[in-house]
Each structure stands twice: as C-alpha cells, then as structure tokens.
Amino acid sequence: MILEMRDICKDYAMGKNVTHVLKNVDLDVEQGEYLAIMGPSGSGKTTLMNLVGCLDTPTSGSYNLGDRDITKLTHRQLAEVRNKEIGFVFQSFNLLPKLTALDNVALPLLYGGVRKSERRRRAAEALETVGLSDRMDYRPDQLSGGQCQRVAIARAIVGKPKMLLADEPTGALDSASGEQVMELFARLHDSGATILMITHDRSIADHADHIRFIRDGVLSGGAGNE
C-alpha cells in the first residue's frame, strides 16, 4: 500500500460556524493503481487532493504515504515529500512563463539538490517520455495547451515520485489534446506509475482502473470497492 488514509476529517472555521469539508474519509492506493475520484464542485474533492498532496494537513485522522506518517512531519519535511514522493499535474499547467520547457521540467530537481548536468539529463529524458524532445528550448507561450500539459506531466515524473496526482488534467484542454493527455497517463500507468486523478468528468474518469465518488465530504465505497 502506497497511500493509506484513515478517518480523515477536515474542518474550516468560518467565523462562528465550522464547516466540515471532509467527513471520516478512508482512502487506500496500491502500488501501480490508477484511481479516479469523481465528484461535483463543492464536494470536497479539491480539499482531499490538497491533503493527499501534502499541501494541507487534516484536522484529524491518520495519513501514511510510503512508510511516513504525514501528520507528524514539519514544514521542511513536507516540502521534501512534495518534492520527492509526489508529482503534481494541475488543471492550468502552472508552468513558469520565463523558463524553457527543459528548465521548467528540471525545477523539482533543482529544489531536490540535484547537480546541474544531472538535472539537464533527467529533464531531457522526461521530455522524451512525453514526446516533446523537439520542444526543449521552447517557452510555454510558444507551446500549445496540450504541449504545455505534457511539459507539466514531464515535470511531475522527472523526480520519479511514488505517485502522480492529477487535478482535472484535461480541464483546460480541447477534447483532442485531452485525449492525448489521457493516452499519456495510460502509457505511464502501463509502465508502472501509480496515478490518482481527480475530476468531475465521467468520460475522463473512465480511463482509470477504479473510480470512487465523493459527495458532501463523504467518500463512498470502502477501500478496494469499485
């Protein structure tokens, strides 16, 4: 088991009222699994995503990623987990506009303290995996949306993380580019990557091996259910 969440709750205080955004969520992800979590907006799926991605900490519950208890880590250790164990793919790509595709991809390695020549080599390798070897020196404004998302995926896999975390990865793309991105995910999955995807779109969720649904902060179906 790569990821194991038990009894996770997340509350937000809004003035005097406390909103319970996540209610007793259990989530397990196995090595090599391709899981989609579906839910409408406001269902708490983005909050769950942030908790899984170690950008936020739960109000209660336990969360183990690999052999680490995430709820006990410091800021600095959380940064290291985000850097080494998780690869983020965002809806809006979030590439740095002034850097080339290669430099964008190499960025997590820079934060991980990898040497420059090694960074360039591994970034070029990741770009090759996503089929953009010929676009290394292009900046994001010279690339199409689909190409930008593939650069972002290259950035997510460059550090060889335990898990890819994709938040509406096709949300900003036309259907053709979206399809290409989904094919890329399928290919990464075939080569052994663990993928957790969050979406509101059934046709996208259908690409995954398993689908789980979230509504009003409750994740339906126990661990292992389809």
Binding site: G53, L55, H75, R76, A79, N94, K98, Y111, R155
Partner: protein
C-alpha cells in the same frame, strides 16, 4: 545562490522601466552621498597638502617655552639649554618612523645682509650636511656644501630660487660675494625645493604671511653661525618622516628622545614637534562636521528609496503568487522562496548603488568644474556605498520575502 542572482537580473531586465524607477531613490541617495564624500575627501587632501606640503614629510622639532615656541634671536640665551652633538643627532636617525634628521639654526628676519647696495629681507638658515636631503632641496646650479666647508667653517653660502632672483637682480649669484654683518660670504650654489609647494591664499592674513617670507632663504654652514651670530645658539631639528601619516609619530619620537637626552636642563624649556598634522586634522574636522549633516540628509533619500523597494517587492510578490504557490507545491522550501525575493531586492538595490556611485563621481567632477571644489575619490567609500545599498535591499526586502515564503500554497495556486 548564483542561479538566484542570474534569475534576479532576468527579472530586473524584463521590467526595465519599473526596476529603474524603483532604483531611483537609491541611485539619488547614493549619488548625493558619494558627491559629498568626494568633495570632503578632496578638501581634506587640499588642506593636508597646503599645510604640510605634499611629499616633503618634514616636521620641525623646536624649543618651546612653557608650551609656546621660543625665539632666541634677540636677548640672551637662557641658562640650561645645551647643544645637540652630531652623535646625538645620528642616534635620532635610528628612531622609529624617522628617515633622517638634520640640525639647523635660523633667523626668520635676517638683518645686515647685503649684496652691493641691495639689502636682503628673507630668512637665514645655518644648516648641517643633512639639511638639504631632509628638507627636500636639490642643488640646481653651482655646488653644495662639502665636508671641508663644514670642517674649516668656510665663509660660503647658498641661496634658494627666490633669494637668487630677488637679491642679485639678474646677475649670476654663483661666485658673488655678499656682506653678512660685515663678513664676506661667497655664494657657491643655488638650491630649489624638490616639490613645488605654493600655498593657497584665502585671506588677507595669508597674503601678508606669504608676502613677508618672499625674500627667500640664504643657507650657510651651521659651523659658520658663530661667525655672524653667537656661540652655542640653541638648535632646531628637521625630521624627515617615513610617510605623511607618520609625521606626528616621528616628531614626537624625536622630541621625546631629546627630552631624555638632557640637552635642556631648564624645566621652563623643552623640545616639541610642530604638529602640523594635528592642525590639519582640526581644520579637516571643521569642514567634515558641516558636510556630515548633508550626508544625513542624503541618508533620508536612501530610506525613502528603501521603502520604494519594499513597496515594489510587495507588488511583485502579489503578482507572482501563482508562481510561488507552484514552487511550494513542487517542493521548494520556505527558505528558498525567501532567499529568491531577498536576492532580487538586494541585486536591485546593489545595482542602484553601483549606478549611484558612478553618478556621484560624475556629479563631483561636474561640481568641481563649475565651482572649483577639489575632488578626491575614496575607494573605501564607494565600496561601503554599494555594500550599504545591498544591505538596504536585504532589510527592506525582508518583509516581502517573508510574506512570499509564508504564502498558503493552496490559495496561491487558486489565485488567477
């Protein structure tokens, strides 16, 4: 670190106008300070040069009576003042900071010295064989004093340029005979000062002082002094220091050695160094204190500039919220985000400092052309100015940088 700096330069370059306007406060502040400091340094050097004489590095050790310079030209010589032997003088050469010493006697106002019908109204120096090298004179024409001149107390004399042209009215002085209180002295040579050191005349008093010494100087061997004046007149010591900054030490060392030697047994008198350096420092501090206030006023401009930098950096943090959010999401530590913004602020203000130093030097030279103030560029001041602007960047960049590093990545990523 290096990558942060190069990224910072890229950022500055991509917002040229904004960066320049941000730097302007720093540029103006640093330029103003460098202009003021350059002018102060220039004035200080001018004071030092005028008062001490550039490059001669000579300090005179003379006898003081109760703290004031004593004059033995007239009246009887007091009890308890002996003469300095050649052995004692040679020992003074060995003192720290001292290059060479020389004994002399002098009359500021020579009387009864004539060439034909012209009377001489300059100074008379009785000097030993070291004097010309100590005081920085070269023999221009004719010959200098020889061993034999001293041993046999030959009645020979040398004149400086001024006396040569003033007293001899166009005739070649060498070989001429002057009448010195009834004694004939033969002129054997002309000396001139190695370093031309004409004082700047700022007031009527200065003018009188300068005009009254314009008669020039006549030198005779110190052994001949008693032919025209008296036996065993007190001597003064000219001390050639190893450097301008060591003049005070050299003078004090010689004066102390003479006090210990027991040449003077009368408590009322003592050998003291004419501390020109001290007088120069007093004049310099006078000009500095006025200008230091100007530096404080210019410092306010730096404060305003620093606040401007903080303001723009805060705007920049807001603009780049998503970028910061992404960096945190992919594993950048808080400290790295903080350093990125601190570096950017420091590079921005250092660049402003460098431009300011350049502008300040330019302005100082422009002022000196228009108003005739001297300019002295102080390298340490320039370095301090650039380092100080960097510190301003770090200090005023701290608040925006900490703000950036403390951003909540969830909200930062959501921001459009």
């Amino acid at each position: 670190m290096f990558e942060n700096i190069s990224l910072a330069f890229q950022g500055i370059w991509s917002h040229k106008l904004r960066s320049f306007l941000t730097m302007l406060g720093i540029i103006i502040g640093i330029a103003a300070i460098i202009t003021i400091v350059s002018t102060i340094t220039g004035i200080n050097e001018q004071i030092k040069t005028n008062l001490i004489g550039s490059g001669t590095n000579v300090v005179n050790v003379t006898i003081n009576a109760d703290g004031y310079p004593a004059d033995f030209s007239y009246g009887s010589i007091p009890q308890g003042i002996g003469t300095i032997s050649e052995e004692l003088r040679a020992s003074l050469d060995e003192l720290p900071s001292v290059l060479e010493t020389s004994l002399y006697r002098k009359r500021d106002w020579a009387d009864e010295v004539y060439f034909k019908n012209n009377s001489f109204n300059g100074a008379i120096y009785g000097v030993d064989s070291h004097y010309f090298s100590v005081a920085g004179y070269d023999v221009q024409y004719g010959r200098g004093f020889t061993e034999t001149d001293f041993e046999r107390a030959r009645k020979v004399a040398m004149v400086d340029d001024t006396a040569a042209s003033g007293l001899f009215a166009g005739e070649n002085p060498v070989g001429q005979t002057i009448e010195f209180r009834g004694e004939p002295f033969t002129i054997i040579g002309i000396v001139s000062e190695r370093v031309e050191n004409s004082p700047v005349i700022n007031s009527v008093d200065d003018y009188y002082m300068y005009a009254n010494t314009s008669g020039g100087t006549i030198f005779i061997p110190i052994n001949c002094w008693d032919i025209v004046y008296r036996y065993d007149e007190p001597q003064s010591v000219a001390v050639h220091a190893e450097g301008t900054d060591e003049m005070t030490t050299a003078g004090t060392n010689v004066a102390d050695a003479l006090k210990e030697s027991g040449v003077i047994t009368n408590d009322y008198f003592s050998y003291e160094a004419d501390d020109l350096l001290q007088q120069a420092a007093e004049l310099q501090s006078l000009s500095e204190s006025a200008n230091n206030q100007l530096i404080w006023i210019a410092g306010i401009s730096l404060l305003v500039g620093g606040i401007g930098v903080m303001n723009i950096m805060l705007v920049s943090v807001t603009e780049r919220t998503r970028e910061i959010g992404l960096k945190i999401a992919i594993g950048a530590r808080q400290s790295r985000i903080m350093w990125q913004f601190l570096t950017e602020a420091a590079v921005l203000t250092s660049l402003g400092g460098v431009i300011g130093v350049g502008g300040g030097i330019g302005l100082a030279y422009m002022l000196s052309n228009v108003m005739g103030t001297p300019v002295g560029i102080s390298i340490p001041a320039c370095v301090v100015a650039v380092v100080f602007s960097m510190v301003i960047g770090i200090v005023f960049g701290l608040v925006p940088a900490v703000k950036a590093s403390k951003l909540n990545p969830i909200e930062a990523l959501r921001r459009e």
